[in-house]
Assembly symmetry: C2
Homo-oligomer: 334 residues x 2
């Protein structure tokens, strides 16, 4: 097992990617390939005493965090992202982790690493915490106007991910909508519903945000526009509650005391709802798994992302996904 | 000014609607018409000593809260919802408040009360609390597959609502999307963006959930599917944070103390994020304003809904909306 890591990606590169790689290397049985400027990366590795199991592949360019995707992708073909994606394409590594420019990582990986057989469009997946466990949501942003067959593919991919990465033997697959009945939702959802119901997965039908967060499904399928709205709204609502609470906590003496005692609870809570437990968003449906981490990822988040790619490779998920898609049941006649 | 209230709608009817009407009648200068079973409603009014300014119009049928919308709408033409909508249609009242079956209220009102001139499709609007104030979001569920011209109409309607109901002289109108740049979003959003930018409103472009909740816009326009997802996700994320926090608060002695002291803060907070401050969702674009309140609405929520309808009528919003739509700027050539 070999995993490539973009050593130049993120707000604290190459330090954080290197620290993350060192953390991960100590915990998993895989070789880690750091992709980036060999001098800068070498210096960081030197700080750690050049641990075994970590090698460096040079990349002479870097796509900036705020650089235009179009420009970066076209003009910087020697970027760490390009080099990492090529390592995936050639089969030299099992997957790639980058905390770099999200749009660039998506665009480059799709084109260079290529999609798996049977996949029309890669999707972005995230693992969210629920009141009782975890749920995989896909797509959260790669496809803003997909067709229903793409949603069906997302369901089949999600089924494999949940089995292997969450350890659920028969994942419950839900379809994000605005009412539980099959007739509820927009045209896309109603049409995807009919086809998902034919597949040999545990399709539990439409699911609303409330039930998603209560843990009623292991996988929730969505178009990328709606899935992104779900993700961003969740973050925004929680942030809003925190801001309003902080105001309330400082309003009275009892409130200030409450805030003081509650601080520990908040800190543990932040750990539990840590969206980076899985290190970032998963670009699935492409060869290998690419994890796109936050630009501000900590070494721990990056190490988790690397371990996730290791799990993905170990379970042979590329092959399982292609098999699941090959066994897909065709859409019923209207 | 006259306002109709569905006395038979909601989990605690006719008690709560009557109590809400009595509350509102004491505070605003409007006659309230309670629509429902005259014996049952009369008995409730008797409890309050038959206050002045409140009359009863008999309706002999009731559409149940969980009754199929299709059946209820077709078979119970003498329901309190039908009678209330007819009072709006005939101009006898300025608007209607119902805590009854949401689907039935929407369907009946659209058909019987009728849409305003220039409105192709009515929309459901809600007023949400932000970190700094309030925002009107529409549509949150009436139109799951609208065209871009409908979103433009929602923007113009929202502009009028925010001016008159929120008292904002030049409302900032945003379009819900997954990135701020005009090119971000799905086809519908990109197309609506172009036309909204031509209107004589303060269109601030695409807006994400984070900025919505930070108070960057006074009105946020969306298709009904996405808007509903935003609304439900907000509620679900806050519920989830509460559940996780309760668990954390009970875990340690300091946490329990924190929870105890924090209780007051939580209670005040609940008041601030009270989605019923405006008494429910506003069905706009139809003649008069219909407010669809939660089935479990308190008398206070219903009284707020009634006052909102009063405000709507007082500002002549039907007329203002029709005027704004008549002055709409046509879509630019592609």
């Amino acid at each position: 097992m070999k995993i490539a890591v973009d050593a130049m990606g993120g707000d604290h590169a190459p330090r954080n990617p290197v620290d993350g790689a060192v953390l991960a290397a100590a915990q998993i049985d895989a070789e880690i390939v750091l992709v980036g400027d060999e001098v800068a990366v070498g210096a960081e590795l030197g700080r750690h005493g050049n641990p075994s199991g970590i090698s460096v592949v040079h990349a002479e360019e870097v796509i900036g965090m705020d650089e235009s995707v179009a420009t970066g992708v076209r003009r910087k073909r020697k970027s760490s992202i390009h080099v990492g994606a090529r390592l995936v394409r050639s089969g030299d590594v099992d997957g790639f982790v980058s905390a770099g420019n999200t749009g660039a990582v998506m665009a480059v990986t799709k084109v260079i690493a290529g999609t798996l057989q049977g996949v029309d469009r890669p999707a972005l997946a995230v693992v969210l915490p629920t009141q009782t466990g975890r749920v995989i949501v896909l797509d959260v942003g790669a496809n803003v106007d997909p067709k229903s067959q793409h949603l069906v593919q997302f369901g089949l991919i999600g089924d494999q991910l949940a089995q292997q990465l969450l350890g659920v033997s028969r994942p419950r697959i839900g379809l994000l909508s605005i009412g539980e009945e099959a007739v509820k939702g927009n045209e896309l959802v109603r049409s995807a519903h009919r086809v998902l119901a034919e597949q040999s997965i545990d399709f539990i039908g439409n699911i609303e945000a409330r039930d998603l967060y209560r843990g009623s499904a292991d996988v929730v399928v969505s178009d990328g526009f709606t899935g992104n709205i779900l993700l961003k709204t969740s973050e925004a609502a929680v942030e809003t509650l925190r801001v309003l609470m902080r105001e309330e906590f400082t309003r009275t003496v009892a409130g200030r005391l409450g805030g003081l005692f509650a601080r520990g609870a908040f800190q543990r809570l932040r750990g539990r709802v840590d969206y980076e437990e899985f290190g970032g968003a998963l670009l699935v449906g492409v060869r290998g798994l690419t994890v796109i981490s936050h630009g501000r990822s900590t070494p721990r988040a990056l190490s988790n992302a690397i371990k996730l790619v290791g799990d993905y490779g170990r379970h042979g998920l590329d092959h399982r996904v292609e098999e699941a898609l090959a066994n897909q049941v065709a859409a019923p006649a209207e």
